[in-house]
Symmetry: C2
Subunit: 364 residues, 2 copies
C-alpha cells in the first residue's frame, strides 16, 4: 500500500533524495567508503557543505553580508543562542505557540522581555494589534506554528517589517523555510531545525547578518557564539555529516523543481485543496483563523456532534495509507503537514479519504 | 581495491552496520517509510532509542543512579555544559591535548581553574606528578588524545581515582569509549562525540550520575541543563534520529562480538601489531611516550634522516588502499586510528605496507 507521510517533522523527503542518501551510505562519491565514515575534513565533504550553503544562498536569494551555517543542537538550542548573542537588556517576542513560548522563556534568563500573545485563544490566530518597542534589542517571531496550524502570511510579514522599524528582526522558520520566498534582508537572523523542508533530523540552519554580532557585553561560551561557527565555516567541530549531505541533495531537488517560488505555488495549491475539503465538510472543521492558516500544517477536528468518530476516522485513514495525521495533544483532532516534498496526489488521497469517510457516516 | 579506513573520526563502522543503515534509509522496520522521515515520537523510534540506552548500560555495566543521554551539538558543546552544570567556583583539568585545552578554556568562563599539562612536551605524555585540589568542584580528564596518540592507561586511571578522593571525576571519552571496560561508578559524568566507536557524526553521548546535578546556583538555559534531557529521555527536542539508529545497530554489533572486554583484547592485539612494526622500523618512529601510548590512535613520523620520504610514503600507502593516515598538523607525520570496527587484517595491511616501503627505501 502507498504510504502518505503527513508527519509534522521529521517529515517527508523526496523519494530520489532518500534513494541517493541510501546510495551514499553504501558508497559516497564512488570512493569506496560510506558517508557515515568519511572525515568531515575530507575534500568530498567540504564540497557537500559548500554546495549546501551555496544552494541556500541561491534559493533564498540571500544578500551579501549574511552567513549560512549548518549546526547541531536543534532550534531549541537556538532559543538560548539568540539572546546570548543579541540581547543586551530587552527583547520582544511574538508568542504564537508552544515553540515561540519556549523561545521566549530562554530570553527571560538574559534580561527583560515583552511579548504579544494569542495564548488565550489557544494560539488559533496571529496577534496583529501591537507595537514593537523601539528600545528592544530584537523582535522575535515564529513564522509558522506547526502545532496550531497558523502561519504569518506574506502580507502580515510586510506589516511586521514596518512595525520593527530599526529593531532587528529574528525569525524561527523551522517549519516554513523554503516553502515560500522571503525577503532575507529584512532579517537580522533566521534559524530553524532542518528536519522539515531541508533535511532529516540532526541539523540546524542559521542565516545571520554578520554585522549584528559582537555587540553584547556578556561572555559567550565558544560553541554558543555564532562568530565561532562563522569563523569555522560550520566546521569548528564535527558537523552532522549525513544530515547535511541529505540537506544538500534536497536543496538540489528543490532547485531542479523550480526553486522556492515554484514550491510556494505548489504549496498554495495543496493547502487550498485540503482547506476546501475541510470547509465543505459537514463533519470536519478547521481550528486556525482563516487569515492565518498555515500552508505547511493543516489542523482540523471533528465538529462537536461528530467528536465520537475521531478514532474511527484515524483508523479509516490509517488503513488507506495516511501516516502522521494525529493532531498535537494541545489542539487534538488531526494535522496534515504539507511540506515541499508532499505531492498534490498525496493531498488528494487524504481529501478523498475524508470525503469517503464522511459519505459513509452520513449514509450510516 | 579494498579500502582500509584509518580516519580519526568520523571513522570506520562495521560493514553490516553500514548495510543495515542503508536498508533503513530505504525502509525502516518494513513500515514503508525511510528512517529519515519517521517521527521521533513514533513507537518505532522510541524502541530504537530505548535499545541504544539499554545497550550502553549493559555494555559499560552502568550502575543504577546514572542516566544515559544521546544529544546533538558534539563534545564541544559539552565543554561548556559541564561547567554550566557542575562548577560553582573552581574546577581542575588534566590538560593532555588540543581537546582537553578547549574543554579547559570553556571552564575559565565560569570560575577559577587549575590545570596540569604536558603542553611543553607537545602533549607526548600524560602528566602523572600532580595532586587534585580537594576543593575543586570536579576534576576533568580526557581519557584518549586523538591528535597526540596518548591514552590514560587502565593503571593510571586507577591512580587518578585515588588522586580524586571525593572530588567528582568528569571524563571526555570521545575517542576511547567502548574500547575497554571502565569502572563507571568512579565517574560523576562521562561524555563524548559519538562519531568514533559508537555512531556516525551528529550524536553526543552523556553518562551522568543523577545526584551530581542541581547543585550550582547559576541560571542554566534549558537546553544546556542536563536535567532537561534526563527528564525528556533525550527527547526534549528532536534528537538526531539516524545517528542514534546507527549507534543502536553498532552497539548490537559490539554485543554480538563479545562486548567491551573482547573489544579490548582485539584492540590490544591490533595496537601491539602496529607499535611493534613502528618500534622495529629503521625509518618510522612513534611520537607518544611508550607508557602512555593510545590503543585507538597510533601516531608515528619518519625518523629525522627520512623526513624527506614523508610524501612518498603517503602516496605509497594511498595506492595500497590506506585512508585517513595523515597525522594532525600539530604532530605531523602519520596517524592510524584503530577503533573497534578496524580489523586485525586492516592493521596487518598497513604494517605490510610500511615494511614494503621500508624495504624499497633501504634497497634503493
Amino acid at each position: 500500500m502507498t504510504k502518505y507521510n503527513f508527519n509534522a517533522g521529521p517529515s517527508i523527503l523526496p523519494q530520489e533524495v532518500i534513494r541517493q542518501t541510501a546510495e551514499a551510505v553504501l558508497d559516497f562519491n564512488g570512493e569506496g567508503l560510506s558517508i557515515l565514515e568519511i572525515s568531515h575534513r575530507s575534500k568530498g565533504f567540504q564540497a557537500v557543505l559548500d554546495e549546501a550553503v551555496a544552494l541556500m544562498k541561491e534559493l533564498l536569494n540571500i544578500p551579501e553580508g549574511y552567513s549560512v551555517l549548518f549546526l547541531g543542537g536543534g532550534a531549541s538550542l537556538q532559543f538560548c543562542m539568540v539572546p546570548y548573542n543579541l540581547m543586551e537588556k530587552k527583547a520582544a517576542y511574538l508568542n504564537t505557540g508552544v515553540w515561540a513560548k519556549k523561545a521566549l522563556k530562554e530570553a527571560k534568563g538574559f534580561g527583560e522581555t515583552v511579548d504579544f500573545s494569542s495564548a488565550d485563544a489557544n494560539y488559533s490566530f496571529i496577534p496583529k494589534d501591537y507595537s514593537v518597542p523601539q528600545d528592544a534589542d530584537y523582535f522575535h517571531i515564529t513564522t509558522n506554528n506547526t502545532i496550531y496550524g497558523t502561519e504569518i502570511s506574506n502580507a502580515e510579514l510586510e506589516a511586521i517589517y514596518q512595525k520593527c522599524g530599526n529593531v532587528p528582526l529574528v525569525a524561527d522558520m523551522s517549519s516554513d523555510i523554503l516553502s515560500r520566498p522571503i525577503d532575507v534582508q529584512k532579517y537580522a537572523l533566521i534559524y530553524g531545525g532542518a528536519q522539515k523542508n531541508i533535511a532529516p533530523a540532526g541539523a540546524t540552519f542559521v542565516i545571520v547578518r554578520n554585522d549584528v554580532l559582537g555587540k553584547v557585553s556578556r561572555y559567550i561560551p565558544t560553541m554558543l557564539n555564532y562568530q565561532t561557527h562563522i569563523d569555522g565555516g560550520s566546521m569548528f567541530n564535527t558537523p552532522p555529516v549525513l544530515p547535511i549531505y541529505t540537506a544538500m541533495l534536497n536543496l538540489r531537488w528543490l532547485k531542479e523543481n523550480g526553486g522556492v517560488a515554484a514550491a510556494e505555488k505548489r504549496n498554495i495549491a495543496k493547502a487550498a485543496l485540503l482547506y476546501k475539503t475541510i470547509d465543505e465538510s459537514r463533519i470536519f472543521t478547521g481550528t486556525a483563523q482563516k487569515a492565518d492558516r498555515s500552508l505547511m500544517n493543516v489542523c482540523f477536528v471533528m465538529k462537536p456532534e461528530y467528536q465520537h468518530l475521531q478514532d474511527d476516522f484515524m483508523r479509516f485513514a490509517t488503513e488507506r495509507g495516511m501516516v502522521g495525521i494525529k493532531g498535537h495533544r494541545s489542539v487534538g483532532g488531526f494535522r496534515a503537514s504539507l511540506y515541499n516534498a508532499m505531492t498534490i496526489e498525496g493531498v488528494q488521497a487524504l481529501c478523498d479519504c475524508m470525503k469517503e469517510f464522511e459519505t459513509d457516516v452520513i449514509k450510516g
